[in-house]
Amino acid sequence: MNGDAPDGDDGGDASADGFHFDQARWSDGDRHEPLSSEKRTTEAEYDDSPLPDDLTRDELELPKLEEPDLVRHYTRLSEMNYGIDSGPYPLGSCTMKYNPAFTEDVAADPNGLVHPDRPVAGVQGTLSVLYSLQDYLARIGGMDAVTLQPPAGAAGEFTGVLVADAYHEHNGGDRSEIIVPESAHGTNFASAALAGFDVVSLPGGEDGRVDLEALEEALSEDTALLMLTNPNTLGLFERDIEQIADMVHDAGGLLYYDGANLNALLGRGRPGDMGFDVMHYNVHKTFATPHGGGGPGAGPVGVVDELAEFLPDPQVVEAPDASPLKYEFETPERSIGKVHGKYGNWLVLAKAYAYIARLGNDGLNDASAKAVLNANYLASQVEYDVPYGPFHHEFVASAGDQDAADVAKRMLDYGVHPPTTKWPEIVSEALMTEPTEIEGKRTLDQLARAFNAVASEDDETLAAAPERTTAARIDQTEAARDLRLSWRALDD
């Protein structure tokens, strides 16, 4: 086994102003780094199991490796991958941020490792953190009450929709429709449909914002909710938000804020002040926690007073004066019930709390300023056209005559992760870019050089990319037609 030396000729001149990238290629014959079980195995035999015979095996093959071999195996796999620790990852709307390491220290503190069934008196410190986080988030969003229970942003959306549904039902409304702008995050449509609503798709205006006439037409006595993200997916602020809120409320509906883009507003504008009634927070985008999709996440939901009694069970509240405790749990009067076991993903929430507490007011203000400044600086350095503006924390460039997917593949050859492509569809061959507040000027310049190098390349070069990555271009069509969702399928 050896690391194949990349052939300098086969990647074209994939360097931009001195930056050069080659991804590691560890292989053995025609296979990449073999599974550890393929290297050396040993057979273990067990013949005295108390379990029924049909549930047990007599023999089991286990990898038998020296510790350094195992460490190297996983290190090689990470070398053949690309992540936020490798370089910039400017996926618009997905907001891939580096999370400061101190938040990991906080989550690893042994004092945080409490069993959720411990008596309330024994977890007052934990409840204090949860209570404070509810309070922080409520103040940041301009909301009156917050639940920390939903385990991811999309779960937060679903919870918010259920809360809005419970509110309407309690108030005698039989409202069956949720209005979602065409350019909204796909989760909005999915959450509305999953909660049993009919989705009314709202066409965008020519300026990329909500078209008030189209909204007027879409609103009716069936409208339960309008779901908006602000700034929207083009990075544009909905300037008519107060009028939009009035129109929705006059129709008897509620206004939902998709918190995916809250990092553009932190400390500068609050959804509650704009007239939103219910919102979710993507703590991995706005603060610093892992993305929910690949493991435990968190998607807290904030609501105005009128909706607080419908929040999931339980809420952390201050105990009455007569109580010897400071905090306790409470079931909201008309709660929709539980949306997650226990109280949410506590250690993820602890990271969000640590980030907010460490940054404070000034730090959070600074984060949104840098998120917007970085996006605007990067856009100013990129040669691709950016048709809509002024934008905030993200921008959507157009690859013009080039295929945005090919542009993305080619950008990999320059050692950066490409932006989100071909969405939102309002921009042709969209390159949706969000550098986030974490990057410095040097990295933004590296990204701009990658964009501009690819912009000047011909279609043939783009269609052959990527050439300097561990894995070459995959056959997307075949991968979709012949789904293999487990390593077990490799033998088929």
């Binding site: 071909k422 997307q476 069509t477 979709a480 037609r481």
Partner: protein, 127 residues
């Protein structure tokens, strides 16, 4: 680019075709539609015996670029489904009017055919 729009059948604005043979209408998507979608990777169809309704969704076609609903040109009972598409969705790209057909529906209301586009009218729409 010009597309194959045979005049032996009718079309919907949403790009499905309806080819009548006696009391049966065979349904698929047009050459233009398959080209717009790109490589088709999955087709979801109703079962034989199901009822479909004129202008309402009966299934889904998924390509590497998009997922689109399929609309029924006429109402009636599904009498046949092209099961080959489940293992070979590429037939929709390779031969949309032939081996890439999707459904056969037993015609229940002849007047629904009057609402469909002729080949010329559809050609004008996609031109």
């Amino acid at each position: 680019m010009s597309f194959n729009i045979p005049d032996d059948r009718q079309y919907m604005e949403s790009h499905e075709y309806a080819a009548r043979d006696g009391d049966t209408v065979r349904v698929g998507i047009s050459d233009f539609a398959q080209d717009e979608l790109g490589d088709v990777v999955f087709v979801e169809l109703p079962d034989v015996g199901d009822e479909v309704t004129h202008d309402e969704a009966f299934g889904v076609v998924e390509s590497i670029k998009a997922v689109s609903d399929l609309y029924a040109p006429v109402s009636g009972e599904v009498t046949a489904v092209n099961e080959n598409l489940f293992d070979a969705p590429e037939l929709v790209n390779d031969d949309p009017y032939g081996d890439g057909w999707m459904l056969e529906i037993s015609l229940s209301d002849e007047s629904e055919l009057d609402e469909l586009l002729s080949a010329d009218e559809y050609d004008a729409q996609v031109a």
